[in-house]
């Protein structure tokens, strides 16, 4: 359920009528967003999607925009540590939450997050368009499930579309990332 365009039936929903045009310029909302640990302010219309706000207003262009209706997963960011679709949230609704984009995954010393490192090692990307969504989704998943089977790894990425790789190397990357994270924990 939820997000596929083919399944939304506007004529059955009684959604036919258009809204009356609002009089005058659109009202802007002054918002403060915490992204990757830093507070940013922006002035946005209420209809600004979080994905667009991150990219256009705040310059976090690592968040990629694919389908804009929640199906492809490219725009996935972490909201208080949990993966969510940033195209299915309003920027005004993200206030009071901690947003983590793909830029925020890298470690404080500038090195790659183990999930990023694994995607590099295992060739888990080709064109790279879907990659930020995979990285955020997988990093949150492995924090919860540190030792997934191959089947579980496939299930974990089922909500993200990739049109290049055929997924084999992405699954390998998830398993490799789990390995790296475990080694990191044991070494710590």
């Amino acid at each position: 359920m939820t997000t596929e365009p083919g399944r939304v039936r506007p004529e059955q929903a009684g959604f036919g009528k258009a809204a009356s045009e609002p009089a005058g310029p659109e009202r802007l909302h002054a918002i403060t967003l915490r992204v990757n640990g830093t507070a940013y302010t922006a002035s946005v219309p209420a209809r600004r999607l979080l994905s667009d706000c991150l990219r256009h207003d705040l310059g976090f262009t690592g968040t990629h925009v694919g389908c804009e209706h929640g199906v492809c997963g490219a725009c996935t960011v972490l909201l208080d540590g949990e993966p969510v679709r940033s195209c299915l949230m309003l920027a005004v609704g993200a206030e009071r939450h901690e947003v983590t984009t793909v830029e925020g995954l890298r470690r404080l010393d500038g090195s790659l997050h183990p999930v990023q490192q694994a995607f590099g090692e295992c060739h888990g990307l080709q064109c790279g368009y879907c990659t930020p969504g995979f990285l955020t989704t997988v990093s949150a998943y492995l924090a919860e499930r540190p030792d997934p089977s191959e089947y579980e790894a496939r299930e974990a990425i089922a909500g993200n579309l990739c049109r290049c790789t055929g997924y084999q190397n992405i699954v390998a990357s998830v398993l490799r990332a789990a390995e790296l994270l475990r080694a990191e924990r044991e070494g710590a």
Binding site: T2, V8, L49, H69, A158, G159
Partner: protein
């Protein structure tokens, strides 16, 4: 793809939300998880003039459990209900159905009550509510009412909520003693909409014979279709080893004759009816297997 302009309201309490909804009337829409509403807005299939965002109404972010059932507040996310051990123990069907609702990332934001109000004929929770005989608490600034599932769903993407009214919570009653449940569906891809699916419940008598068998279907009718299939399997013995000897296939046949699915781009009507036949037998058998163990302490795997 961007939503049309709208006036944004962010009430902090239920009273404030209902007041605003009352003022904006037909031009208002409630935003909870947004996992169905935002796509509709992005694609401009709807262009409400006012959006009432209830994400700041903390009093709605509740999951309350007692022995008789589970009450889910309008801001409880699917993921919270799914992870709630108490809710899963009292109404196992919730956990059984929620794991099939889209993907985990969508369940992190989407709300259980929101998906009921969205009333998508393929929404798993609509069948859960209908099968259990649950209800939805609907409120307007001047009125509150508890609407039974059978009256809540009016048609595809249409529920009984009136302008100015919002769903505050949903009540999922516990299925009762010696009753097992299951949710089975067939989707083209993992996490996708079901081509057909059902929630099943089987109740056994003291001797372990089938006393009641019923199912509620998604993607088969405009609203969740509830069928009592007891006559096909009544009195048959479900033994400790499982329920393989019971004639579940005849219950599937009965269900297939009682539904009238429509064709669409994903499946013909005949294929849907075939799925009803096969999945009914499968779902009832699974539910009956759990009913055998329903006397055990709660905590059955979802």
């Amino acid at each position: 793809m961007k939503p049309s302009p709208f006036v944004y309201h962010a009430p902090a309490s239920v009273d404030e939300a209902l007041h605003t909804l009352g003022q904006v009337g037909e031009d208002g829409k409630v935003l909870a998880g947004g996992q169905s509403l935002l796509p509709i807005l992005n694609m401009r299939l709807a262009a409400p003039g006012h959006l009432v965002d209830i994400n700041g109404v903390a009093e709605l972010a509740t999951v309350a459990v007692d022995r008789s059932g589970v009450r889910v507040g309008a801001l409880a996310r699917h993921a919270e209900v799914e992870r709630h051990a108490g809710a899963r123990a009292v109404v196992p069907l919730l956990g059984q159905a929620l794991r099939l609702v889209a993907h985990p990332v969508i369940r992190n934001r989407g709300t259980t009550v929101g998906s009921l109000a969205h009333a998508d004929p393929s929404g798993e929770l609509t069948a859960v509510l209908a099968l259990l005989g649950g209800s939805v608490e609907c409120a307007r600034s001047d009125r509150r009412r508890e609407v039974p599932a059978a009256e809540f769903f009016l048609g595809p993407l249409e529920c009984c909520l009136e302008p100015g009214e919002m769903a505050l919570s949903a009540w999922f009653p516990a299925p009762g003693p010696r009753t097992g449940t299951a949710f089975v569906e067939l989707a083209r891809r993992h996490g996708d909409y079901a081509v057909a699916g059902l929630a099943a419940a089987v109740t056994l008598d003291d001797a372990g014979r089938v006393a009641k068998a019923k199912a509620a279907y998604v993607s088969v009718a405009p609203t969740p279709l509830v069928l009592d299939l007891t006559e096909a399997v009544a009195g048959q013995q479900v033994d400790a080893a499982g329920s393989a000897s019971v004639g579940w296939a005849s219950a599937g046949e009965l269900a297939a004759t009682r539904c009238d699915p429509e064709p669409d781009i994903h499946a013909t009507a005949d294929y849907r009816r075939h799925l009803v036949r096969v999945l009914t037998a499968r779902g009832l058998a699974e539910a009956a297997g759990r009913a055998r163990h329903a006397e055990d302490p709660p905590g059955e795997a979802a």
